[in-house]
């Protein structure tokens, strides 16, 4: 950690003692982690400013962008988070936190990585129920199903819990959209005695992250689009196993290669196929899930991914 500070300081033409002075201002009562995180942040912020020779005008524009983010944020919109997302920071701290959690088998840490659109009060629904109500005309209903298995023994896991949530075809989650009924496109399911789960949802569609605030401005300045590829959020939990929080992406979706928040991983891309003889659904998605036992420290592979919007 902090391996390059001294080396870097020696290279620039500015006050060589300044950064250490700012770091050393931290008092004795600061918590060890607060001191460690802030010291590292100061070092990198200063190295960034020196490397790029950031001017006061440029810094002021950044400050204005940050203030704007706070001013646009509400209970239902977190623009500070979006700014981080377009810089890849959320996806990165997700990776870091997952790796740490997988190593520690730490449920508490794991459950933090749920993003702003998860709700803790998803209603339990029965196997085969739908989660789509007020289904929009342009939506393609999908029958999603699969088996949850023990990654080691490959035996089906009965009674595993699956949380699912997704945006509607207008790109909005139900809590962002007054026109959707409460808990539309979300629910909680349990696997049956054969480890099987099933529900009706909609085939997800790409949508832009909000483009009218500082995150949008940043994307515009960087000549980037705001779209996310079509995805469905999932959490799978079972006692004695490492929980899985993930997103799965439609292989036919646009933006798989240039997700505006950098959340796609190849292993998470799935295929929606036409469904026959089901008046309730046009598509089908079979998605099996393997869970790593808590005692298996090497099963990081089942910690798939996460992101929040």
């Amino acid at each position: 950690m902090a391996t390059n500070g001294a080396q870097q300081s020696a290279q620039h033409r500015f006050d060589p003692k300044f950064t250490q002075m700012v770091i050393d201002a931290t008092g004795p009562k600061a918590s060890p982690r607060m001191r460690e995180v802030t010291s590292c942040l100061i070092k990198h912020l200063h190295d960034f400013a020196r490397e790029i020779e950031l001017t006061v005008d440029e810094w002021s524009e950044g400050v204005a962008l940050i203030n704007w983010a706070g001013q646009m944020s509400t209970d239902r919109r977190n623009e500070g988070q979006l700014v981080c997302d377009v810089l890849g920071l959320e996806s990165l701290v997700d990776e870091i936190t997952y790796k740490k959690a997988a190593e520690a088998a730490d449920f508490a840490t794991q459950s933090a990585i749920l993003g702003p659109f998860f709700r803790h009060d998803h209603p339990f629904r029965n196997k085969g129920d739908t989660i789509t109500f007020d289904t929009p005309e342009d939506a393609q209903v999908t029958y999603m199903h699969g088996v949850v298995r023990d990654a080691k023994t490959k035996k089906p896991l009965a009674g595993a819990t699956l949380d699912v949530w997704q945006a509607s075809t207008n790109g909005l989650y139900e809590q962002q959209d007054e026109k959707q009924v409460d808990h539309n496109l979300r629910g909680k399911f349990k696997t049956d005695e054969n480890g099987e789960y099933a529900w009706y949802c909609i085939r997800p569609t790409p949508y832009p992250i909000p483009f009218d605030g500082p995150a949008g401005k940043l994307l515009q300045l960087l000549d980037r689009h705001p779209y996310r590829p079509a995805h469905i959020h999932l959490i799978v939990m079972q006692e004695g196993f490492k929980p899985i929080t993930t997103q799965i992406f439609d292989k036919d979706s646009k933006y798989l290669d240039d997700d505006s928040v950098f959340a796609v991983k190849d292993s998470l891309v799935v295929e929606f196929v036409p469904r026959k003889d089901d008046p309730k659904a046009q598509f089908e998605l079979k998605y099996d899930i393997e869970m790593a036992p808590n005692d298996d420290d090497k099963a990081e592979g089942t910690v798939l991914s996460s992101s929040s919007c």
Copy 2:
């Protein structure tokens, strides 16, 4: 520039391609400087997160702090700037900008470094006038004077312009304080034919930066106080010479060694002495100023310092 990126990437245990992928998302129409600055920011933000193994919970706390900063900011308060200040960032970009400006003899860049409490419409006052109106009872009026000289020839410079501004004893600049008259404790002066300037002001007093927002919260978490040492702001300009923007600090002030925004430099510390036989002032400050001619590229020393609050 960006010398340590590859080296650092090789050391960590996270996706080695991620940061470059985020940097490469920038489109072809982004301006070269926007691309350069953002790429460097992404690199350092990611290195910071990986080095410290930043968790989602910790990142979320940072996002909440940033959003709070924007929500507290108004026309008269810039909390995003204050957060940067307590991390030393403003003082650093000042140093960088000054160094670049001194090298370029660039007035336009120079004039940007004025901070939120400078006003462009300081009224011209006559030599010997006061800038303190509604003087508070606890204020100590000071007669400040000196000579502005050519740093090379040591000859006095007639007609040089000095802008001065300072906070009142309650720690507030006039635009922050409804009780102070317009343009209280600020003014613009010219040197006379002998290069001399003079005015009555107040002896400055230490004051805390606003402590009730995220910058205050950060200081509290870092076990630091919010105080700035007593100081007076000055800008000196004369055609054919490099402009000087600076703060001067009272040598008897508290907080010279631990300015909450890290703006003090030893060369800027001045001595207030008791003044005799002047019913209008209790103290006197003699402060001579040398200006570097625009054609003297090595005269960086006259670019003294700056900060904004």
